[in-house]
């Protein structure tokens, strides 16, 4: 049997493991990663592949004994011609754009306000995080109760004073969407603020001090030093929120159910209805795939924009 000497000790080396150290290390690393890889394949890739596969079939579990008929891209064409799906797609974009923009602006303001160390700021931060800790379904139910015109703490008076109209904001075709956006903003702005605050706290103090010493004003320091250095954190916050806002479901489901009419119907609400209420698996899969595609495109666009901004900042 071959032996390997380490110092004065001889370690036996079997023929079977006659691999080089580098190969064995690679194998070891692969073995370490294997459970995670298997998990991702089983939980993410396999369902994703199945979802793509099903989207090419007319496959309704409640009809025709759940038979599958290949229909090519018909489900995607249906998504385009179906006025409800089109409205849901537009609503989802409006919701995502408005909610994430407002959350980012408010979140940045809050992060800048809380940047300085201090007991007051720490206490504020703790309170600020309360909305994030509440599950979205409960947030939706709370707002629904608050805005109810018959008994809601706000809804009753808003209707009495003629601000919301007699039927309340959630039953108004013009106000329902702003209200669900507002609910999302209330819940998720603190998270954006927290992420940005973490980014601000990790900025190198010497650069900021140097900028101050050079006589830069607060606005100049923010525009030319803080913002460029904060870009990776901004990217993280935006991507997280865009992904989350695009698949909004709970809040809308419990507050408006996608109504009144279809004014707040989102792609996820529509997809869940098709998949879990009508068991229309082919069409629901197509909706899901379009959602994934939209999220990937949006996130790729963010990556490009941030990278370009980063390059431009470095050139300066």
């Amino acid at each position: 049997m071959a032996t390997t000497s380490v110092g004065s000790i001889d370690f036996p080396q079997s023929k079977a493991s006659g691999l080089r150290f580098a190969d064995r290390r690679k194998l070891f690393l692969v073995a370490l990663a294997l459970p995670a890889v298997i998990y991702v394949v089983l939980v993410a890739l396999w369902p994703l592949a199945q979802g793509i596969w099903y989207s090419f079939f007319d496959y309704n579990l409640l009809r025709g004994g759940g038979r599958r008929t290949f229909v090519g891209l018909a489900n995607y064409a249906e998504l385009w011609t179906d006025s409800t799906a089109r409205r849901a797609l537009v609503n989802t974009f409006i919701f995502t754009f408005a909610a994430v923009t407002i959350e980012f602006v408010f979140g940045l303001c809050l992060a800048l306000l809380l940047w300085r160390e201090g007991r007051f700021n720490r206490i504020c931060l703790a309170f600020l995080l309360i909305p994030v800790t509440i599950t979205p379904v409960v947030v939706g139910l709370i707002f629904r109760a608050l805005l109810a015109v018959d008994y809601g703490f706000f809804g009753y008076y808003l209707a009495e004073w003629g601000i919301s109209g007699p039927r309340g904001f959630l039953a108004s075709t013009t106000a329902a969407m702003p209200v669900v956006i507002l609910i999302d903003v209330w819940e998720w702005t603190p998270l954006v603020a927290l992420i940005l605050l973490a980014g601000l706290k990790s900025l190198p103090g010497d650069i900021l001090e140097a900028a101050s010493a050079d006589g830069a004003t607060a606005v100049q320091r923010f525009r030319l030093v803080v913002l460029p250095l904060l870009l990776p954190t901004v990217f993280l916050a935006l991507v997280l929120r865009v992904m989350d806002a695009f698949r909004v479901f709970d809040t809308i489901f419990v507050t408006t159910g996608g109504g009144p009419g279809d004014t707040t119907n989102s792609l996820m609400v529509y997809g869940v209805k098709q998949g879990l209420q009508f068991f229309n698996i082919g069409f629901a899969s197509a909706i899901g795939n379009v959602m994934i595609l939209c999220i990937v495109v949006l996130c790729a666009a963010f990556t490009l924009l941030i990278r370009r901004a980063d390059v431009r900042a470095n050139e300066r």
Binding site: L62, A159, P166, G259, G261
Partner: protein, 426 residues
């Protein structure tokens, strides 16, 4: 004691245990069987759970009742049927699911069993309309009725008297009376119905639509959703919401609607008879002494018919025959005259038998039972078509009618869009 004596004693003990065991088995033929029942969270559900130990006492079979809301019941039972997972032996089936159940053979066809046990079940005592509509579809009996509901008109005697108005007997009178009884300054409204997007508004509108002469399907069974009669009835429904309903009603589901009536905000409401016990319960109602119930008013010149709804119980077709037989025993037990009386004395509000509706004790407790009996005799359980496509049609209507009520969409445009989409389902 000698070893031989001990042995004799042991043998005697075993023999006596065996005899006792076989006697027990004869007394309780279903001992050891457990039946899992998925039940809608209606008034009958806690009563079934309460009475289930009596069935165990009588037969030996344990019944576990899983009480679910409408959406969860639909999703969980469909997943059970589609995946053949046999999680439930018995399921409560809404009247409108019959088409889907029959189409997909989810449950056992009970036709032969009903014929076999007709005498034992006293079938003549059960309203034929409940058997026909709650579970019969395409020649199959996919569920057996145990909870029939009649669409009834609940109204406030005091408000009608004070206004010098009589109880409306036609749909036209109903609209007039509802508007006359409305005074928003006093927070008093003449009418309340479901306006919330989804099944809530769709089901309530279909009830009024039927009374006003509308219909979802034409004579050939194809969608006729944008018919003149339907457009007209939707206009009337919107007029009622605009002129006679509490402003929040556009977002009411069944709970909100019933609550507004019990709290005395609305003077008239068409509803399922199952909610009626609540109006007479002082712990939850402010109108105990002023409420009355009558049959629903239909349009002038229309044949007399009253909406029928309710729940049947189906047996999962995937479970083994012995389990199916035990499940059938449970259905027979639950729908027997004795248990139906007890079931309703406990407040289930669910009727299928003539003898139950005529029972003096029940009539003393619930004075409106003759109204239900009259409705069952002229029942229409098809105004919400019990076809496989019904869930999708209901969803389309639920969005369209709500859009009309909140404004911005004209009844004709809304129903045209529903018609176009519904036609694709056939």
């Amino acid at each position: 004691m000698s070893t031989a004596s001990l042995l004799k004693l042991g043998v005697a003990g075993l023999v006596s245990m065996g005899v006792a065991g076989s006697a027990l088995a004869a007394d309780k033929p279903l001992a050891g069987i457990t039946l899992n029942l998925a039940s809608q969270n209606d008034q009958f559900a806690p009563v079934i759970a309460k009475l289930a130990p009596k069935f165990e006492e009588a037969t030996g079979a344990t019944v576990k009742v899983d009480i679910l809301d409408y959406g969860s019941l639909l999703t969980k039972t469909q997943a059970d049927f589609v995946g053949h997972t046999k999680s439930y032996d018995l399921v409560t089936m809404d009247i409108v699911w019959a088409g889907q159940y029959a189409d997909n053979k989810y449950t056992v066809d009970l036709t032969d069993w009903i014929k076999r046990d007709a005498a034992e079940m006293k079938l003549d005592d059960i309203y034929p309309s409940t058997i026909k509509y709650i579970g019969q579809y395409d020649g199959k009996q996919v569920a057996f009725p145990f909870a029939g509901y009649a669409a009834v008109l609940a109204y406030r005697k005091d408000l009608l008297e004070a206004a010098g108005l009589k109880v409306p007997e036609t749909a036209e009178e109903f609209v007039e009376t509802a508007i006359k009884l409305t005074n928003p300054d006093k927070k008093q409204y003449g009418f309340v119905a479901n306006g919330q997007k989804g099944p809530a508004v769709a089901q309530d509108w279909l009830q009024y639509n039927s009374q006003l002469g509308g219909s979802v399907l034409d004579a050939s069974g194809k969608p006729a959703i944008n018919s003149e009669a339907n457009i007209n009835s939707l206009k009337i429904y919107k007029e009622l919401f605009d002129k006679a309903a509490p402003p929040g009603a556009v977002d009411y589901d069944w709970g909100g609607r019933e609550e507004s009536f019990r709290q005395g905000i609305a003077a008239m409401m068409e509803t399922w008879s199952v909610g009626a016990p609540g109006y007479y319960d002082p712990s939850m109602s402010k109108i105990v002494d002023h409420v009355a119930i009558t049959t629903t008013p239909g349009a002038k010149g229309m044949p007399v018919k009253y909406g029928l709804g309710g729940w049947g119980m189906g047996i999962n077709a995937d479970i083994d025959p012995a389990q199916q037989e035990a499940a059938w025993q449970f259905i027979k037990w639950l729908t027997s005259p004795e248990i139906q009386k007890e079931f309703n004395m406990e407040g289930a509000g669910s009727y299928i038998r003539k003898s139950t509706l005529a029972d003096p004790d029940l009539n003393k407790k619930f004075p409106y039972l003759p109204v239900i009996a009259k409705s069952f005799e002229n029942a229409d359980g098809d105004y919400r078509p019990r076809i496989p496509q019904y869930p999708e049609i209901q969803d389309l209507l639920g969005t369209a009618v709500n859009a009309v009520l909140v404004g911005g969409v004209e009844p004709k445009a809304a129903l045209d869009e529903v018609q176009e989409k519904a036609a694709k389902l056939f």
